[in-house]
Symmetry: C2
Subunit: 232 residues, 2 copies
Amino acid sequence: MMSDSERSKKLPGGTRPIPPGTANPNVPVATVTRLALYLRELQQLHRSGLQRIQSGAIAKRLGLNDSQVRRDLSCFGQFGQRGVGYSIPALTQAIQAILGTDRSWNVILIGAGNLGRALSGYRGFDQQGFRLVGVFDCVEDKIGSKLGGLTIQSLDDLEAVVEKESVELAILAVPASSAASVAQRLEIAGVTGLLNFAPVSVRKPGSSLTVVDVDLAVELQRLAFAVVNQKN
Amino acid sequence: MMSDSERSKKLPGGTRPIPPGTANPNVPVATVTRLALYLRELQQLHRSGLQRIQSGAIAKRLGLNDSQVRRDLSCFGQFGQRGVGYSIPALTQAIQAILGTDRSWNVILIGAGNLGRALSGYRGFDQQGFRLVGVFDCVEDKIGSKLGGLTIQSLDDLEAVVEKESVELAILAVPASSAASVAQRLEIAGVTGLLNFAPVSVRKPGSSLTVVDVDLAVELQRLAFAVVNQKN
DNA sequence: ATATGTGAAAAGTTTCACAGCC
DNA sequence: GGCTGTGAAACTTTTCACATAT
């Protein structure tokens, strides 16, 4: 691993990414979200045959400031060429490495209700390297039936599957009432990341489980506020 | 409407909310998201029979700082009693008024695919005052079939339904390729708010359409980054 | 004694503006 | 000329700390 002084030293020459995991510890949270959006735009640009892009063009597509795009990237290294711009394939690779999606992740889904079934079929996950390797529910009637290419399993089998498949991430789409207890089981089983769709906080003080929350009703409330207050 | 000086003047006495729409224009965006989370916690506390709560207790449940809770609320008025705390029913009402969810909103859904079907059945929307009054798709085979209590309609009928039902909000759950054109039609039809699940930016420079984006793959990427960088 | 509401300080984030390189 | 990378300034948000109220 690089020392801090080596990492921050200016070096002449071409693209110099900072190795993943050694990045500047002061990465704004908002930067990470934008990085994923940059990646999405880059992938779309690549599909339309483009090879090169400028910070200003990325910014414009997302309604951002051009220097914000450059600043976000500069947290992780130097990926562009002055006077030229960024290579779309190279920057795509670099952002995937930063986000940790330059490899595949094994993911399980807990909850085969309305939302769980939709999430199990969501193509966007697969496309970004997230492989669904198990679906669980605790309703007897659902267990054994198929969902996508997978058989819905009993929650009792959770720990065994997590170990066997080296599952690191879980998507939680269960009712609020059971979310906390399932989250605790996931943590004990060795899952390290949780995407929580249950409308309840499952964060615990000293927990090793990293949580990202998505509350669909909260998003609609944010929208209502923005509409009433004309924040657009 | 109140003048700025009247609004910021200190007044003695009890709970003094600032009327909705007249709030301090410098409300942090993050505050609005947290407000919706406070509301969620308050509703849960109310269900368990509690009548009163302190800023520190709300903060603890959500992993926040107590003074942040007070500061967030203070953008909109004075809702607590010193030495006592906040009345759960009164604060619930107040936050609903701030968010604009103290009345019901008519919402339509565009896209009856995997995700659209799940969203149409999501109980959390109804519970917060969002009424689904129409579902649209452009696939012939789906049109006419039932989804929840609604019949899937052709996109051709969009404008008529928006006008007839006074639809203000739309949920967009269509593929990236058609998102932009549908968003434009929604804006022209008179929809003012859009919850966008399509993995593409539908924001346009001078648009009157307020957009909130939810990209499920982006959320999973944020999680992967947080896990790799142990940000928990 | 206890908890809010809020000035002021601290911390964090965005934007400006320009040196440096293509 | 054009565009990146980045120090410094501007701005925003969070946290501290305490006067104020019950």
